[in-house]
């Protein structure tokens, strides 16, 4: 047992050099294990490459002339790469308008969500009003409500006040996110209350204590909630699909969804629109990879 320890502890680097001189059963087992580990690593690297194939194929098709997308069997070779499919997307669809709609809806939803849920979280963390326990329970219960199962009554509600096909209908129902309230309450609970008390003594009101003192202390949470809300809202399909039926009110996912049922040979055009539809989020991802990944990891709510 004592012999094994130093071998093991040195980790993969030592394990790699070990098979050079396999002596005895321990070394043989070592060698087998390191071979196995390397094989497994190789499999995962290969699968990671496989995972990128659909993306590569999309890019590949998008720069082909339409006629060379209908070759059997499919080929990666691009003869005469062209960007004509990209310009065709802009002339054949309202893509520019969809970008604008998505930007408007997503930015406003994100800002409103962060403001309202952080305020609510702050109130639940610091407030001493009557019914607080009940309200917190009510909001917690909301985490369980799947909005997708409530599309019919929600549509009916907005239809009855004539808001379908307006920004109001696209934006407002997407704002209340009980999970964000919960996240903010938890993080505010972790901020020592003494800092704000000192300020309150000096006559600072709730607003100052919240906006000037508490909020700056929870900046990482604000970033995580913002990015998450942004990605989620930008990608949301079901509700905007119902709430925006006129092409001029559609967001990117809904608009791109209408391209799915294209007629004729439009493979390159469809792939170009897939690339254009994915582009804003890919950029967000490349710039905020860390926050997005940490935001997901934070779902664990440790």
């Amino acid at each position: 047992m004592a012999i094994k320890a130093p071998l093991r502890r040195t980790g993969p680097a030592a394990a790699v050099s070990a098979p050079a001189a396999p002596r005895g059963a321990v070394a043989a087992a070592n060698w087998r294990e390191s071979l196995f580990r390397r094989a497994v690593t190789g499999v995962v690297i290969a699968l990671a490459l496989v995972w990128l194939v659909p993306v590569a194929w999309t890019l590949d098709t998008s720069i082909k002339p339409e006629t060379s997308t209908i070759i059997i069997p499919a080929t990666w070779k691009v003869s005469g790469p062209t960007l004509s499919a990209y310009s065709a997307v802009f002339s054949a669809t309202d893509l520019g308008r969809w970008y604008l709609n998505s930007a408007i809806v997503t930015v406003i939803v994100t800002v409103l969500t962060v403001i309202t849920t952080s305020m609510a979280g702050y109130a639940l963390s610091r407030g001493k009003f009557r019914g607080k326990g009940f309200l917190f329970a009510l909001i917690l219960a909301g985490i369980m409500i799947p909005p997708q199962a409530l599309i019919v009554p929600l549509f009916r509600e907005l239809q009855s006040v004539h808001l379908i096909n307006t920004y109001w209908a696209l934006i407002l129902p997407q704002v209340p996110a009980p999970i964000s309230v919960f996240i903010f309450k938890k993080v505010f609970d972790g901020v020592p209350v003494e800092i704000e008390q000192a300020a309150t003594v000096d006559g600072a009101g709730w607003w100052t204590a919240y906006a000037r003192i508490a909020l700056p202390l929870v900046r990482p949470t604000i970033a995580a909630v913002s990015i998450f809300t942004f990605v989620w809202t930008w990608n949301n399909f079901l509700w905007p699909f119902l709430a925006a039926t006129s092409p001029t009110m559609m967001t990117i996912p809904v608009g791109i969804g209408t391209v799915v049922s294209g007629v004729g040979v439009v493979n390159a055009l469809q792939m170009a629109s897939a690339v254009l539809g994915a582009l804003p989020l890919v950029l967000v991802f490349l710039f905020a990879q860390r926050q997005i990944v940490e935001g997901v990891a934070g779902t664990g709510l440790k």
Binding site: V44, V55, V152, R156, V201, Q270, A278, F285
Partner: protein, 310 residues
């Protein structure tokens, strides 16, 4: 107390403001909650109440008001509606088939990638990038990959000298094809959850184990997997809830076809409420799905509480 130096009101005035503050504090605590609460009630609670009410009426999409009172008629009809149960079954079948790969594959990827250490960004990019793409983009990409004859997948099959099956046109295969799409698309979320879970396992557990002579694979079975128990509960339940809500990719890729072979519960609700315009009936169907999801959520809560007690 340095902050106090910034403002120096008269002592009497200050104690008065302080009292006012305390009183105002009680109210403004509630005031801070109000903006969220208003939206929450309007767009989550009210629809829920409305759903229950409308499920008792023959409400129509194109007529104002609730329509004729139907009592439990909608539910009676629903329980005998084979189309509804077919859609519910597709949703459950999709959940049963998609959950194991969406839990096990990311677990495997995360354990291996966590050991690689170098170039982790590459794996994050490969596995997580699809997750942030909109469903419509996913649908476009995969319809083209599955395209009979011209598609890349059929091209691959013919390269191997094999005939390709009708990925989306065969009623027996279509749902599995959708599962493949979903695995490719959403695996990154669980992958990242597992990576985070792995980072939380204390290093010294492994050190102690190797001093005791436990092999690497033994450490994986005896330390890594048990320590990921909580993460796995989270991943499984979030995955089940997400799968029960499936709509986007099925609607966009097969539109529920061929011959309703892939129609999910949400799509059934959509078809009933918006195409057949039977809002009352669709509300009853929504409530059934809602209850199913709620039950799963409660089971999760119970599981978490038990794990926390241990």
């Amino acid at each position: 107390m340095t902050t106090r130096a910034m403002r120096l009101p008269a002592t009497a005035a200050r104690s008065r403001t302080r009292q006012a503050q305390r009183r105002r504090g009680n109210v403004s605590g509630l005031g801070f909650l109000t903006p969220f609460l208003v939206l929450y009630v309007l767009f989550l609670i009210l629809p829920l109440v409305l759903d229950v009410v409308m499920s008792l009426f023959n409400t129509s999409l194109v007529l104002p008001g609730l329509g004729r009172f139907a009592g439990l008629g909608n539910y009676g009809e629903l329980f005998g509606d084979s189309r509804f149960w077919q859609a519910m079954w597709h949703t459950i079948a999709f959940t049963l088939v998609s959950t194991p790969p969406l839990v096990l594959i990311p677990l495997f990827f995360a354990i291996v990638v966590n050991r690689i250490r170098r170039r982790q960004w590459f794996f994050r990019l490969a596995f997580f990038l699809p997750y942030i793409l909109p469903s419509a983009v996913i649908a476009l990409i995969w319809l083209w990959l599955y395209e009979p004859g011209y598609g890349l997948i059929d091209g691959f099959f013919s390269m191997l000298g094999l005939g390709a099956p009708g990925w989306l046109s065969s009623p027996n295969l279509a749902l599995y094809s959708i599962v493949i799409v979903t695995v490719w698309w959403t695996i990154g979320f669980n992958f990242v959850l597992y990576l985070a879970g792995l980072q939380d396992i204390p290093r010294d557990l492994y050190e102690a184990a190797s001093i005791d002579g436990a092999s690497r694979s033994r450490q994986t079975w005896r330390i890594t997997l048990p320590m990921l128990g909580r993460t796995t509960t989270l991943v499984v339940v979030l995955q089940i809830i997400a799968s029960l809500k499936i709509f986007d990719q099925i609607y966009l890729i097969t539109a529920g076809g061929p011959n309703y072979a892939t129609r999910s519960a949400i799509e059934y609700i959509y078809d009933t409420g918006f195409t057949s315009q039977r809002v009352g009936y669709a509300s009853a169907a929504s409530l059934v799905l809602f209850v199913v999801i709620l039950v799963v959520s409660f089971v999760w809560l119970a599981l978490i509480q038990r794990q926390e007690r241990v």
